[in-house]
């Protein structure tokens, strides 16, 4: 079902559809950096909709943010930024929803039912605000603090395993047959999850503990909209080592 229909009043429907159709042809640019899961989200969304876009790599590790980035995201000065007809949209989940709404004729990213959408949004926030910070804490801290953080991350994954069962309804992805909002939200973290598993010698998405997520992770990574933007574990692992040395050598770059 067309995502646009679920929020438009009948009178404005025709006007917005025409405007959307016109907007869908305007130039698209993404400011990003390849290791960032949040950037990966924006790119997967655009890929799902088969949108052609220009990609600009920002040199964040070197501390050289482009003028365009600073101008487009003055509040956070972070990637990703989506520039559509030169207008900036920031924050990865806001970008994903924007892409879904503008390119409404492509495969839907958010579910069509309002309740399912609310559930998808809920879990995406949970992943970003509650779950992933525990994973990062496990990685960046040591000893007991790290152990506790990873234990909490494990508990979170059990919740996500349950959420997967409910959302997927027996199909391959959170979004059902095709990847959707929640697949993007969690899947964008997969490369870092694998690096952290390797570096910290833990098993997060584990075949025994979270069998559905384990299988889902393989299917997601292989998806045509994902495979070219999700970095390989080896490449990201090298980057992670570099990042840690930069962090230890100087104050964290922001």
């Amino acid at each position: 079902m067309d995502a646009a229909k679920s929020f438009q009043s009948p009178e404005s429907l025709f006007v917005v559809h025409s405007e959307s159709a016109r907007m869908a042809t305007e130039t698209v640019k993404v400011l990003g950096c390849w290791p960032s899961p949040y950037v990966i989200r924006a790119r997967i969304a655009l890929n799902i909709k088969s949108v052609e876009y220009e990609y600009q790599e920002e040199d964040l590790l070197g501390g050289n943010k482009s003028d365009l980035l600073l101008k487009s995201n003055p509040v956070y000065k972070k990637v990703p930024v989506l520039l559509h007809a030169d207008r900036p949209i920031c924050e990865s989940l806001v970008i994903v929803q924007y892409v879904d709404e503008v390119w409404a004729s492509g495969p839907a990213i958010l579910p069509s039912d309002p309740y399912d959408r609310a559930i998808a949004r809920f879990w995406a926030i949970y992943m970003d605000d509650k779950w992933y910070p525990r994973v990062k804490e496990g990685f960046f801290s040591e000893g007991e603090a790290s152990k506790i953080a990873f234990e909490e991350a494990d508990k979170g994954l059990l919740l996500l395993e349950e959420a997967f069962t409910k959302c997927s309804k027996g199909q391959k992805f959170f979004g059902g047959e095709r990847i959707g909002y929640l697949d993007i939200a969690l899947g964008s973290h997969l490369a870092w999850i694998r690096v952290i598993e390797k570096a910290s010698n833990v098993s997060l998405i584990d075949e025994a503990k979270t069998p559905n997520l384990y299988k889902w992770a393989h299917d997601f990574s292989a998806d045509v909209a994902v495979k070219d933007v999700l970095p390989s574990t080896d490449k990201l692992y090298e980057f992670a080592k570099l990042l840690i040395s930069v962090m230890k050598g100087s104050t964290p770059e922001k």
Partner: protein, 254 residues
């Protein structure tokens, strides 16, 4: 009552207030149930097992949590009422971006306020201040940088004012953040106006002097029945009471 609609809230919860204002704006009837934070109802625990927090909107027995997600849900389900979110995808993205900024910081506020109630200003500064290296270090999982109370307060006051000025800039000459109509972002922010008096007296801030448009906007919002009705059940005295209760609980008396 509309199709079995129950809202679980707490009188001074700014997040619950968002939902009450939204439902009243749309003229949707619902049953309100007051929760006690120190004695949560079985219904709340059942409907929001992950966070066990208000607000939760229960529609025909199905729960929706996270205040901004509830606002989006209300917009999508009650399509015959004037929408809170704009219809243009770009404007929607902007509204979501700013609401997310407020929400991100508000979450931190609640998390840290209960730990460090003497730092009301410090944590509220995080409410709407842009990301800043000082606060990243300050709040990142225990890696705390110690400053003298005086320095903390001064730095926090500056952050708070910078944040309010950001919002003042975003409001500009508009009547509401939503333009001519009271909308999503107005609903997201107005409940926090309830705390402005506390912050002014705590930190000796002169908010109106620096952000006159924001104060004028807040007063315009207060003229709306939906807003004044919600504020009436959460007078500043109740907030002071809550602050005292939290301080006592944390062993801080003043």
């Amino acid at each position: 009552m509309e199709d079995g609609l129950i809202l679980l809230g707490y009188n001074i919860s700014m997040f619950a207030m968002r939902v009450r204002i939204a439902l009243d704006e749309k003229g949707i009837e619902y049953e309100y149930r007051e929760e006690r934070l120190d004695n949560k109802s079985p219904l709340l625990l059942e409907m929001n097992p992950v966070h066990q927090k208000v607000p939760v909107l229960i529609h025909n027995g199905k729960p929706v949590s996270e205040s901004l997600m509830i606002l989006e849900y209300i917009d999508e389900v009650w399509k015959d009422k004037p929408p809170l979110l704009p219809s243009d995808p770009y404007q929607r993205a902007q509204a979501r971006f700013w609401a997310d900024l407020i929400d991100k910081k508000a979450r931190l506020f609640y998390e840290y306020y209960s730990k460090y109630p003497q730092c009301v200003i410090v944590v509220f500064a995080e409410l709407i201040a842009p990301h800043n290296a000082y606060f990243q270090i300050y709040i990142n999982g225990g890696r705390r940088v110690w400053f003298s109370k005086g320095e903390e307060l001064e730095a926090a006051k500056k952050e708070l004012m910078d944040g309010l000025k950001l919002l003042e800039g975003e409001l500009g000459e508009k009547v509401y953040f939503g333009g001519d109509k009271f909308g999503f972002l107005d609903v997201a922010l107005i409940p926090f106006y309830n705390c402005f008096d506390s912050f002014e007296s705590c930190g000796k801030l002169r908010i109106e002097e620096h952000c006159p448009k924001l104060i004028a906007w807040a007063k315009r919002c207060m003229e709306k029945e939906s807003v004044s009705k919600s504020f009436a059940v959460a007078p500043p005295s109740m907030i002071d009471e809550y602050i005292l209760m939290t301080r006592k609980k944390n062993g801080n008396t003043e």
